[in-house]
Symmetry: C2
Subunit: 296 residues, 2 copies
């Protein structure tokens, strides 16, 4: 049991995540002082007790406004490392900028690389994040880094009925479906594109499973505007699913997403406590104990 002093980055989501972690670890909980100047610049001050720790866990989610959260995280890390704190673990429940993880078009910025390098450069010795869009991206951190998958843990908080299946909206999320399904003890699958051989028309269907009459649990890492999940929900209901429940790690829910999900027939959304949804009313599951377990 090494534990760590838990220092919150001072926003509501980070505060609550850090409190829960500290509680699980029976560790001290501290929070930075944080304010915003009239011109929009952030100000951060570290409590002096934080500097006496051998190992400090800085909890700062990169929730919206992502750029401000990022800058504040760098301020905290840089201050701690300048003060000589040796082991600084960055706990970033939501790692923003993770979806741009390669050049989709030539010479695009690979934002996850930029963000991870800067976090490392500011002084983080190690990094934990919840369900990073692509786990491989963490190599850019250049040090020990782990994406903690919350789906097995979240399974215990999800109400399911008889005849439930777990579906990922695409191949990229298949492993997420597998994790959740194995814990729920049900089958899983993912949606694939199919083209009608005669008409040439494109549609989507689960690769193997028949969802007719099933309660479907749709799994993905993130909901931003809700497009992917809404589309998948419609497909599944058209194919005879009785209900569609959504489970995600990061429910940003921006730009009319909540309404879009409702209109697409989604009956309930479960999400981890990594961000504050901009809209709607998902069921929030505290996954901080999972990270605490890693750090114990």
């Amino acid at each position: 049991m090494r534990g760590c002093v838990v220092l919150s980055g001072g926003d509501d989501v980070s505060d609550s995540f850090a409190r829960s972690m500290a509680n699980m670890l029976s560790s001290p909980y501290l929070a930075i002082t944080r304010k915003i100047f009239p011109d929009g610049e952030s100000y951060v001050r570290i409590p002096s007790q934080a500097l006496e720790a051998d190992r400090i866990c800085v909890v700062k989610t990169l929730d919206r406004p992502q750029d401000k959260s990022f800058l504040e995280l760098l301020l905290i890390l840089d201050t701690l490392s300048s003060k000589g704190v040796k082991e600084i673990v960055a706990v970033v429940p939501y790692l923003a900028y993770a979806r741009q993880d390669r050049e989709f078009l030539e010479n695009e910025a690979v934002s996850v690389r930029t963000v991870l390098r800067a976090i490392r450069g500011a002084g983080a010795s190690a990094l934990y994040a919840i369900e990073v869009h692509k786990e491989e991206s963490l190599r850019y951190f250049g040090g020990p880094a782990k994406s903690v998958s919350p789906f097995e843990y979240m399974a215990d908080f999800i109400d399911i009925g008889e005849n439930t299946v777990v579906i990922a909206p695409d191949l990229g999320a298949r492993d997420r479906a597998r994790r959740l399904a194995s814990k729920l003890g049900v089958d899983y699958d993912y949606l694939v594109k199919v083209r009608d051989r005669i008409t040439g028309e494109v549609s989507y269907k689960p690769k193997e499973l028949n969802v007719e009459g099933s309660h479907v649990v749709l799994v993905d890492d993130i909901i931003s505007t809700g497009g992917t999940v809404a589309k998948a929900s419609r497909i599944l209901l058209e194919r005879g699913a009785r209900t569609v429940t959504v489970v995600v790690a990061h429910a940003l829910l921006v730009d009319g997403a909540w309404r879009k999900l409702r209109d697409a027939g989604v009956s309930r959304v479960y999400a981890a406590n990594t961000v504050k949804p901009a809209e709607g009313d998902p069921v929030i599951i505290d996954v901080a104990p999972l990270v605490a377990r890693e750090l114990a």
Copy 2:
């Protein structure tokens, strides 16, 4: 004459600054492609011609929203350095976060250090900024860095009448007043606090000069909410100044600043083209040729 390919960071202020620099240098002007996703994340793409340069000057001001501008600057630098561009000069007309340049209270984040280290870490070989709050802060960059003072240059664009003096609102800005005054060929001074020996009452006055009947040019590095400059203007008018004109590098003008300056009797504001003022209508002077001169 080495020159450089000038790459704009894609916002209006940086575009116009970069164009002017490129024009002065007879260098190619390029701009990044920039967009913002619905959840608020920035996207950046570099034009391929930029990657063929031996030396590239990235022009990106850290204007509001400062955190977003900062993140975008890192995206650009990280992309260029990942692509193997050897010499990357960061031209940051307005270096945000520069006023928190030390711990005023124990364990405060020294934001100028955090920002400069991150810019260096993302790949900048050298840095130029206009009128950094404290020039010494640039040591945190850890490489060649220069604060370019615009006041001598701006003097040529400022209308002054007979009997003009230049005043700094405090000792910290005295050197700014000296630079402007020497080019205008007039006297300068700065305001000091004076305490009445009998009543104990505190007031402010120019240290040496009598401003009665003078046209005063007030000089400072930055106007944010306008408090410092408005107060100085009132003092000078009370002491008999005929007019007060303000000259600053960075006219953020937030939170009612423009009205505050008007109410305090300021007749005109001149500012460099380093930020887009949130309010009001200062006379903007293009100082990009000054930076171009440094890079030629």
